[in-house]
């Protein structure tokens, strides 16, 4: 049986020009030799910082971009040589508010795309009605999209992506910008779709989202996959480590450097939180680090010191490096 999604040595390079006369050629590798295989029915998550290549990968799989080299297959069909057959069997949803005709009603948006997907009218009528009900748009389907809330627009996006009853659904940061309740509802729907047998390829920034719903995840950094496996196996990459967190007001740069030099410390990240800084230290021996904090911080008093087990986010930060905040 063919894999739902497959990539082999997949590479994408963008070539642009710059300068007044556009003579300077600029090459940028968006994807570097990606190998990936997703089983039918799997809910697969792709994690990575902005610009890592997540959207480029989704666009290649959805036939919107051609790879520079390597191959990409959906349900055994090559996305380069057989895009029309691929398009019939996939759906995709991009995050954000764009991608809909705001001056048309939600219902008109769905009808239009149903016709572009060449779905017979008797089938599309029933399916649209079902999707409107399932995605909680009942009663608002005849309103113009410009009057919808962000959450409703995202649910309409999802309804559009499901119009052709796709076997593989690509979701590119579908919960971005949604309020917690809307995001949770959408995750619930995605999980239900997966339980219903659809293969789902989800890109996200949110670790807890991937941890909560994905069967398997991959972490992408600068166009290369740096880790792949189940959420628990990814977490195991930091299994022998712990995390120390504390708050300080006015963290000296020298102290941060000193912390990084302590034995067993693998990374130190500092995030601003109101007037204070929250310092997260990934290390092999948390107790040792905690005892040395007073010395290292040299007069600056740490507050809310705690030690905890590493999460998927910690594993992600470790894989991506200190630059990811």
């Amino acid at each position: 049986m063919a894999q739902a999604v497959e990539a082999s040595a997949l590479r994408k390079q963008y070539i642009t020009t710059r300068g007044v006369f556009r003579r300077e050629r600029v090459e940028r590798d968006a994807l570097r030799s990606i190998d990936l295989s997703i089983e039918p029915g799997e809910l697969f998550g792709l994690l990575g910082p902005n610009g890592a290549g997540k959207t480029t990968m989704v666009k290649i799989f959805t036939t919107l971009l051609l790879p520079t080299s390597g191959s990409a297959r959906i349900l055994g069909l090559d996305v380069v040589s057989n895009p029309w057959a691929v398009r019939r069997r996939i759906g995709f949803v991009f995050g954000g508010e764009r991608g809909l005709y705001w001056r048309l009603s939600g219902l008109d948006n769905l009808r239009y795309f149903a016709d572009l997907y060449q779905i017979p009218p008797d089938v599309s009528r029933k399916r649209i009605a079902q999707l409107i009900e399932r995605l909680g748009l009942t009663g608002r389907e005849r309103d113009r999209v410009e009057l919808y809330s962000r959450g409703m627009k995202q649910r309409l996006h999802l309804a559009r992506g499901l119009l052709n009853d796709p076997e593989v659904l690509f979701l590119d940061e579908p919960t971005i910008g949604l309020d917690p309740v809307g995001a949770r509802e959408l995750r619930q729907i995605v999980r239900e779709l997966s339980d219903g047998g659809k293969t789902i390829f989800l890109t996200t920034h949110y670790m807890f989202e991937a941890d909560a719903i994905c069967d398997r995840i991959a972490v992408i950094k600068k166009g290369s996959i740096v880790a792949q496996g189940t959420p628990s196996s990814i977490k195991r990459t930091v299994e022998n480590q712990g995390v120390v967190e504390f708050e300080v007001v006015g963290m000296p740069e020298a102290a941060a450097a000193e912390l990084r030099r302590l034995p067993g410390v693998t990374s130190v990240s500092i995030a601003e939180h109101e007037l204070a800084q929250v310092v997260t230290v990934h290390c092999a021996r948390p107790a040792e680090v905690m005892t040395q904090l007073g010395l290292v911080l040299d007069g600056v008093k740490p507050q809310k010191i705690s030690s905890r087990e590493p999460t998927l986010e910690d594993a992600y930060v470790q894989l991506i490096g200190d630059s990811a905040q």
Binding site: K59, L66, R103, L104, R160
Partner: protein, 261 residues
């Protein structure tokens, strides 16, 4: 084929619905044609001007409106789709882009042809100008041929807007050039020979000549040849369109220009 027809009809319907709620569409449809009609009639309706030239004033504004909507609205529509983020969605459906654009362009043609109504009325009510001797059959055929030429040019050039973000400003010049080279507002005989040569390569030149000839007494003995020339050139454009769509389909997937960023 049924699926394609349904997709094209749906694209037509959506383009019409989006157009009627757009105030910009009325600029091309009503305001600009009326300005051109007023200017044309002011110049061509002066004492001593040839009576047969008056038809350029009566129909010229409508022609400009028709052409502007048929040609430029297609590009505008693509640009709008890019801004709305819908261009990628439209591109990634199992219906070829030309089918969708064909539906949209048909919408533009229907909306555009209506530009003749206010301009001809304005000429009659505002300037007491009317067409001297219309041959209804030849007029209708000429208008049909003209519509076909507009459709083929729009169908051929519109995908370029999808491929290149900068195409819109560049191809704007083509819109204005056609006004002059195809003789929308005055006979092409007044142009320099090289410009007439370029105009002869444009199918609307022949269709426009036939349209004007069908409104004056005596008409033209070789009007059928003009129709043939317009249709023949348009068919050549369609051959070009075939390669254009293949090129756009491949190139857009290489450059990623369908998205805004």
């Amino acid at each position: 084929m049924k699926g394609y027809a349904r997709a094209a009809i749906s694209a037509f319907r959506v383009s019409m619905r989006l157009r009627v709620v757009s105030t910009w569409a009325y600029l091309n449809w009503l305001v600009f044609p009326l300005i051109f009609t007023a200017l044309g009639l002011f110049v061509l309706g002066r004492p001593g001007a040839s009576g047969s030239h008056l038809v350029y004033g009566i129909l010229g504004g409508g022609l400009i409106g028709y052409w502007g909507i048929a040609y430029l609205d297609g590009g505008n529509g693509i640009q709008d789709e890019r801004w709305n983020g819908t261009l990628e969605h439209v591109f990634a459906v199992p219906t070829p882009l030309w089918v969708i654009l064909f539906g949209k362009i048909c919408g533009s043609l229907l909306f555009g042809i209506l530009a003749f109504v206010p301009t001809v009325l304005f000429a009659y009510l505002g300037f007491h100008a009317s067409l001297p001797a219309v041959d209804p059959l030849r007029f209708v055929i000429s208008l049909g041929v003209l519509t076909f030429t507009f459709m083929t040019i729009a169908l051929t050039l519109t995908p370029l807007f999808a491929l290149w973000r900068w195409a819109f400003s560049f191809l704007n010049g083509f819109e204005l050039g056609v006004y002059i080279l195809c003789g929308f507002m005055f006979p092409v005989a007044v142009l320099a020979p090289w410009a007439q040569g370029v105009g002869d390569l444009l199918a609307p030149t022949w269709a426009t000549r036939a349209l004007y000839a069908s409104t004056v007494s005596g008409g033209a003995p070789d009007i059928e040849l003009w129709w043939l020339a317009a249709v023949g050139l348009s068919l050549l454009y369609l051959v070009g369109a075939y390669f254009m769509y293949r090129m756009v389909g491949d190139r857009a997937r290489v450059s990623g220009e369908l998205a805004l960023a």
